[in-house]
């Protein structure tokens, strides 16, 4: 229970009127002050906490950031009392249309929300208020009305800069592994065995033998794994609610997924922050929707370093495989060592370096030391033969890729 601004004004005015009325001997002022205080006391005693139930319906539980999602909330007062209901949006969601506040014994709210950043947005509850008729005292109560929206990162169309990206991004693509298996290129001939399809029968070779069927074997193809080291430390969220490195990392991953799929590189995401976690895309999930959903399920947190992530991934990394590091490079002194370890395996490493100091500046924090540290790190990376994409704040990824190539 709390006093509203009007209630506080009445309290101050009432006390002042009583005090001054007594001081100057004005019975009228004292009586008026006393009546104000009495009204306040009545409001305090008579105003009860609201009791209500609510239900929420979310139009789409998964959406792309920037797409409006319709939300409907129904609230019913259990005592039939008039209540004021206000829904609270999780940070990062914005109301696009409709009203988040309603009044009455039965309240229906309908509004559209838009996610300005990728993320998992959980609606907690609504705030229900009851106030006395004069609006002096207010009681609030939170009514549970759960709901959730997962906003996938928006995908930047990189087709326009595909030529530059193709030259710049590391990729092995499909390569033959020297074994018989599924593929398209001829590998060897062998005798027909039960289970072979007629399509594989080499009729010309079979005719030459005259007595048995010969089938053509094809050489097995393999996709390269492109390992993406994703900085999911708590520092990735530094900036503002609507602009932080983690959001740009997710956008970059979603945008590059299509590019990697076109190259037939199989992306493997190594998330580091709260420990190290490896995420692989399900077969056919070229857009990495499953991986992105897993990434969005947890907020960035922790302080695991890139070196720890590389150490965890090293046992399964293949020589000359492509690797991509997505990080704002804040407060991680191990970046150069970690990349050196990757280079020791002759991995083709690209670092997509987000502008960490710029995000610090958005948060109102000093940036000089961070910027100097970043420059030292980038110099060390280039010295290791790593290609660095210096991705500036609010810059389109395609432009950063093209600039990096230049």
């Amino acid at each position: 229970m709390s006093l509203t601004p009007q209630g506080r004004a009445a309290l101050v005015a009432g006390a002042a009127a009583v005090g001054l009325g007594l001081a100057v001997g004005s019975l009228l002022a004292a009586a008026l002050g006393a009546s104000l205080l009495a009204a306040l006391a009545w409001a305090l005693l008579a105003t009860r906490a609201p009791r209500a139930r609510a239900a929420r319906r979310v139009g789409a539980s998964i959406a792309r950031e920037g797409e409006p999602v319709q939300v409907e909330v129904g609230v019913e007062s259990l005592e039939g009392a008039r209540i004021e209901v206000e829904d609270a949006l999780p940070p990062g969601l914005e109301a696009a249309e409709g009203d988040l506040i309603g009044q009455g014994a039965r309240v229906g709210l309908a509004f559209a929300v838009v996610a300005r950043v990728p993320g998992r947005f959980v609606f907690r509850g609504l705030t229900a208020r009851v106030s006395d008729p004069l609006g002096l005292v207010e009681r609030t109560h939170v009514i549970e009305a759960p709901g959730e929206i997962v906003a996938l990162p928006r995908v930047e169309d990189l087709r326009g800069s595909l030529a530059a990206s193709r030259r710049f991004l590391p990729a092995s693509g499909i390569h033959l592994v020297g074994q018989a298996g599924g593929g398209s290129d001829f590998f060897a001939l062998r005798d027909y065995q039960p289970g072979d399809t007629l399509r594989d029968v080499n009729w010309r070779a079979s005719a030459r033998t005259g007595r048995k069927l010969i089938v053509s074997q094809r050489e097995m193809e393999s996709q390269a794994e492109a390992t993406v080291f994703l900085d999911a430390r708590g520092l990735s969220r530094v900036g503002t609610v609507g602009n932080h490195a983690w959001a740009d990392e997710l956008r970059a991953l979603a945008s590059l997924a299509a590019l990697l799929a076109r190259r037939r590189d199989r992306p493997v995401v190594v998330r580091y922050g709260e420990g190290v976690e490896t995420l692989r895309a399900a077969p056919g999930d070229a857009a990495l929707a499953g991986v992105l959903a897993s990434l969005l399920a947890r907020e960035p947190a922790g302080g695991a370093t890139l070196r720890e992530a590389v150490d965890a991934a090293l046992p399964r990394l293949r020589r000359r495989a492509p690797a991509l590091v997505l990080s704002p490079l804040l407060d991680d002194p191990t970046v150069a060592d970690a990349v050196a370890a990757l280079r020791a395996l002759e991995l083709d490493v690209v670092v997509l370096a987000l502008d960490g100091p710029a995000f610090l500046a958005l948060a109102g924090e000093p940036t000089e030391e961070a910027r100097a540290q970043r420059e030292r790190t980038l110099s060390a990376l280039r010295a290791h033969g790593v290609r660095v994409v210096d991705w500036r704040l609010s810059e389109r990824l395609a432009l950063a890729l093209a600039r990096g190539e230049a």
């Binding site: 009007q6 005015a13 002022a29 530094v238 900036g239 503002t240």
Partner: protein
């Protein structure tokens, strides 16, 4: 009744209350300084007698060279004492045939040949004289218009009780000059609205005014020395009136709070804080 109606009702009630308090404060201020005596009842009486009234400064009323015949002046004890030139003009006005009623002003009374005591009479016994002082006109032919009660006394020793040290009554409360053209009343509040609220006192005042100013007299009410009527109010309120007046600020505060309550100007202040997209996320927030 809807909340809006409740708040509108609250606004009206508070505005009314604030207005009453403001009026109360204004009255107190008026009683303390400024505004001057309320001559309206006296004017009404004079008009009822067929006189022509106006409110003029003593200089305008008495210093002019116009013949004083057929003219009159009512002078009440004011906040500022009369200047010597004004006293001379007053004496000249009376000497030229003008008619004068002096209410409690010892200087004016003395200049006109009469006298008003400085110490008040206690238990005067006449409600028409709220601040009764003894009047003395030693001239032959002077007439006493009213007397105080037998038990009245002038509290010489200041103990509030009648003792042997005090001067015992009765005392003259008002006197007519020998020529009947000057009435000296030992009470500055004799014509105040409070004193005239008593019907007997009002009838007596009307009779005396009719006697002082024959019908058709052009009577000027002195507006230059415009102190309020002396206390015809209880002593406690008289004390309160002497303290700083705080009624107006209280009224303003109440009116402002009433407006706030009715219009709900600060309603948004109580809303839950909304976190905008531009809210910063600092290092300590994510650790």
């Amino acid at each position: 009744m809807s909340p809006r109606a409740w708040r509108l009702a609250a606004l009206l009630a508070l505005a009314l209350a604030a207005g009453l308090v403001a009026a109360d404060a204004a009255q107190r201020v008026s009683q303390r300084r400024g505004g001057g005596p309320d001559w309206a009842p006296a004017e009404a009486m004079l008009k009822a007698n067929g006189d022509i009234t106006s409110r003029l400064a003593l200089g305008e009323a008495a210093l002019s060279d116009a013949p004083a015949q057929g003219r009159g002046l009512v002078l009440a004890k004011g906040g500022a004492p009369l200047a010597p030139a004004e006293l001379d003009a007053l004496a000249s006005f009376a000497a030229r045939g003008g008619r004068v009623v002096v209410l409690g002003d010892p200087d004016a009374a003395a200049r006109l040949g009469s006298g008003v005591a400085s110490a008040p009479i206690l238990l005067a016994g006449n409600a028409s004289f709220p601040d009764a002082h003894a009047v003395l006109d030693p001239r032959p032919g002077a007439r006493v218009a009213a007397w105080s009660a037998n038990g009245s006394f002038v509290d010489v020793d200041g103990d509030g009780r009648a003792t042997a040290a005090d001067a015992p009554g009765p005392f003259a409360l008002a006197t007519w000059s020998p020529d009947g053209r000057v009435l000296v009343v030992g009470s500055a509040g004799w014509l105040s609205p409070d004193a005239l609220r008593d019907p007997a006192g009002a009838a007596e005042a009307q009779r005396w005014l009719a006697q002082a100013f024959p019908p058709g007299t052009r009577v000027a009410l002195d507006a230059a020395h415009d102190a309020p009527w002396p206390a015809a109010i209880p002593g406690s309120l008289q004390d309160a009136a002497a303290t700083p007046q705080l009624g107006a600020p209280v009224a303003l505060a109440l009116a402002a709070s009433g407006l706030c309550a009715a219009l709900g100007l600060a309603r948004e202040e109580g809303r839950a804080e909304r976190r905008g997209l531009d809210a910063p996320v600092r290092r300590e927030d994510v650790r």
